[in-house]
């Protein structure tokens, strides 16, 4: 009994440790290749860029866990930022009200995604593809296709706290990661998510209504996209209706690098966060080495495929190491 408990405890972080190892290798590599890599500027760039992607990747992890996909997060993020922008600029709303407005917008989009796809059994790929267009259109509509400049009024979220060196946004994002991982591994909701991703019919036949939980997952993904929008807006200090284009793919890439299965039932929030870090470090490092944008994208693409390939052979590799 204790032995098997030990085993299960070793097995889980093996994947996390692998990701941490990859991360360390990347940092050492870029550190030796570029003399500027270990600098405050690099650190600040990284820290400012990741909160939005992190919270969106958390939502995406949950969605992939139940064997769904959410393509709309990038657009929903832009729409939420736009809503916050016009609330502050055009309606002189207090920041708190604007924040709540942005979050509610995200929640509404996510709930719509979840309800339509779960209730009428339409693949979430199609529903969220539709929402991708709707939310992007909405973002252009509310902003009149103009970037709204908010200036310093929202900067307190995204800029580093004096003395700490990290922003409130980053701290919030890390809190989201910790809470989400706790929800996944300790709660009923987490258990149901994994079960739905594994065998939805068995869940239904066990007397659990999958509809509610599926809608909840998409609603959360929308809410987190809204939160990501707030982080993005405070970082750019403006609401840009063009922001977040292609962000859904970056989020899916991070989650997949973290080893979450696209077919559902298996995944980890912490590993998704490590996936976000790997992508961010790679982007920053390659930029410092003066790698051109096209080459950067090609390299990023290859890393994603390599990560999935590695994941495919993770279990045999794990057995190999355990036997030793």
């Amino acid at each position: 009994m204790p032995e098997s408990k030990l085993k299960s405890r070793i097995q889980l972080p093996w994947n996390s440790l692998g990701l941490v190892a990859v991360l360390i290798v990347l940092i050492i590599f870029f550190g030796t290749m570029s003399e500027y890599f270990f600098s405050a500027v690099t650190f600040r760039t990284l820290v400012n860029q990741i909160p939005a992607l992190t919270v969106i990747a958390v939502g995406m992890t949950f969605v992939l866990l139940i064997a769904g996909i959410d393509l709309s997060v990038g657009s929903v993020m832009a729409l939420c930022a736009a809503v916050m922008g016009i609330l502050v600029i055009d309606h002189q709303a207090p920041i708190a009200v604007a924040l709540i407005g942005a979050l509610l917008m995200g929640l509404a989009c996510g709930t719509a995604n979840g309800f339509v796809s779960a209730k009428w059994r339409i693949p979430s790929f199609v529903v969220t593809l539709g929402m991708l267009e709707i939310a992007r259109g909405g973002a252009y509509l509310v902003t009149n296709s103009e970037t709204k400049y908010l200036g310093d009024s929202v900067g307190f979220i995204g800029s580093p706290i004096a003395g700490l060196g990290v922003s409130a946004a980053l701290i919030a994002a890390i809190l989201v990661v910790i809470i989400a991982q706790w929800v996944l591994s300790k709660t009923l909701f987490g258990r149901y998510m994994i079960a739905i991703g594994t065998n939805e019919e068995a869940v239904r036949l066990s007397g659990v209504n999958p509809l509610f939980w599926k809608v909840l997952v998409f609603a959360l993904a929308g809410l987190l996209a809204g939160l990501g929008g707030i982080f993005q807006l405070s970082y750019l200090q403006s609401a840009d209706p063009n922001s977040g284009i292609g962000l859904e793919l970056a989020a899916i890439a991070a989650v997949v690098i973290g080893g979450t299965s696209l077919s559902g039932g298996r995944g980890s929030v912490v590993n998704s966060f490590l996936g976000v870090l790997i992508i961010a470090v790679m982007q920053a490092g390659l930029a410092q080495l003066g790698v051109s944008e096209p080459s950067k994208r090609i390299i990023t693409g290859m890393v994603i495929i390599a990560a999935v390939l590695f994941d495919q052979f993770r279990e045999p590799l794990g057995r190999f190491f355990q036997r030793k």
Binding site: M1, K5, K186, L188, R191, N199, R319
Partner: protein, 524 residues
Amino acid sequence: MLLRIKKLNKSFVVPVLKNLDFELHEGEVHALLGSNGAGKSTLCNIISGIHTADSGSFEYCGLPYTPNSLQAAEALGICMVMQELNLFPTLSVAENLYFRSMSDRFGIVQHQAIQRRAKKALQTVGLNYIDPAQPLSQLGVGQQQLVEIASVLQRPIRLLILDEPTSALTGPQIDLLFEQIIQLKKQGIGVIYISHRMDEISRIADRVSILRDGELVATKAVADISTDRMVQLMAGDESTSIDMKESIDQSHLPNNSILLKVENLTRRTKNQSGGDSGFENISFNLNAGEVLGIGGLIGSGRTELLRAIFGADQAHKGCIRLASDGFKTRRIMKSPADAISHGIGMLVEDRKSQGLLLSHSVSKNISFAILDSLNKKLGVVDQSAEQDLAESMSKKLSIQCDSMQQPISLLSGGNQQKALLARWLAIDFSILLLDEPSRGVDARAKNQIQALIRELAAMGKAILIVSSETQELLKVSDRIAVMSNGRLAGIFKTTELSEEKLLEASFCFYSSEDNQSKLANARI
């Protein structure tokens, strides 16, 4: 001698086959018997080239033989019909039959030609009324299994491996299959036959090899060994044969305390081929402390009836009434959650696709239906209570596993089934619906499950059980309701029912004024 294997060894991390010797003569039906995990499937997979042996010598038709791929084995005339179907539901029957030879050399499918050939092939397995152009998915599982067998019979075979070929077949279909096997024997073809059904083995096999934990326990002529002895050998020395008679005697019906009334329950749906499926006007009462068996052919509406009572599918007409409110409310269960809240649980027919959560551990599978009651606060699962539940259940049902944290996917079929049963024993139920509870389960686990069913009845629970094995129904049921073509043919006391009578009742609504195709559809 067709096949001779000496000192075969094979390990998957742990040894699965140990120094195994095996021989097969021309024209012999050689049965393989053993619990799940005894090594039967591994042996067959090695013979048919799917896996390669670690060591051992092979001789096939007098020549050394090194099976290293399925294709190589097939080229030598070794074919296997697997337990799980390897067919394409959306392709036509003919395309399935000739999957690898359906096109000309330019890759154009020769529909006319293969359909003509398919007609003949289908005749060999008694499916002459099937249109080869229709999609395979319109056929029943039993018919699909026969298509798979027909497709193998088309090839030039010398050695045929059948892995549980009858698990989805009904009596007449089995008769037909056995006729084919006898034909093969006459042609000198050797057959390796895996089955858990003892009566089939004594009927069709010449010799039987019994495996236990990867070792050959005995090879005997079937005529020289009794079925009891076979079970003993399979189970090993600590064989505990459960005396069913005794447990049945304990269960006298507590004076007519009805738990469930089913009244004119109806659910009729058209299947893709336009035929009716489902059931109509089913009425019966279910008593506390009673096991009510549901007999009938596959496709007679038995599973559909159970699913409607459980709310997995909604009934169209009629209702059920429950003792809990004095039979006042007319109910149609809207969802499984609805049924569970009224104390009804159901073990589903296909455990892999509808029951198991393969990514979860044994304990998480057991606790799943009552997870919301293991909620500490904030939706946190009380893992120690969950562990206690799983351990007490696994003790009660003697589930064999390394630990409760072991992934359920690593357990044998019998132990998976027991874990699913445990899921339902964990809920506060008064009525349990069991759909084929011992399908694909080894003989020992089957005995344990059947004993458990009687035990539950003795505790005052009401059990409704569907089984395609007549023997099982006769063994565990107090009464048997026989369904025929979606209707209730009658309810009989088990003591007054013979196998012949049950079969007769199963057919009674097919042969009347109903059209002939319906008859054919249901029978095969």
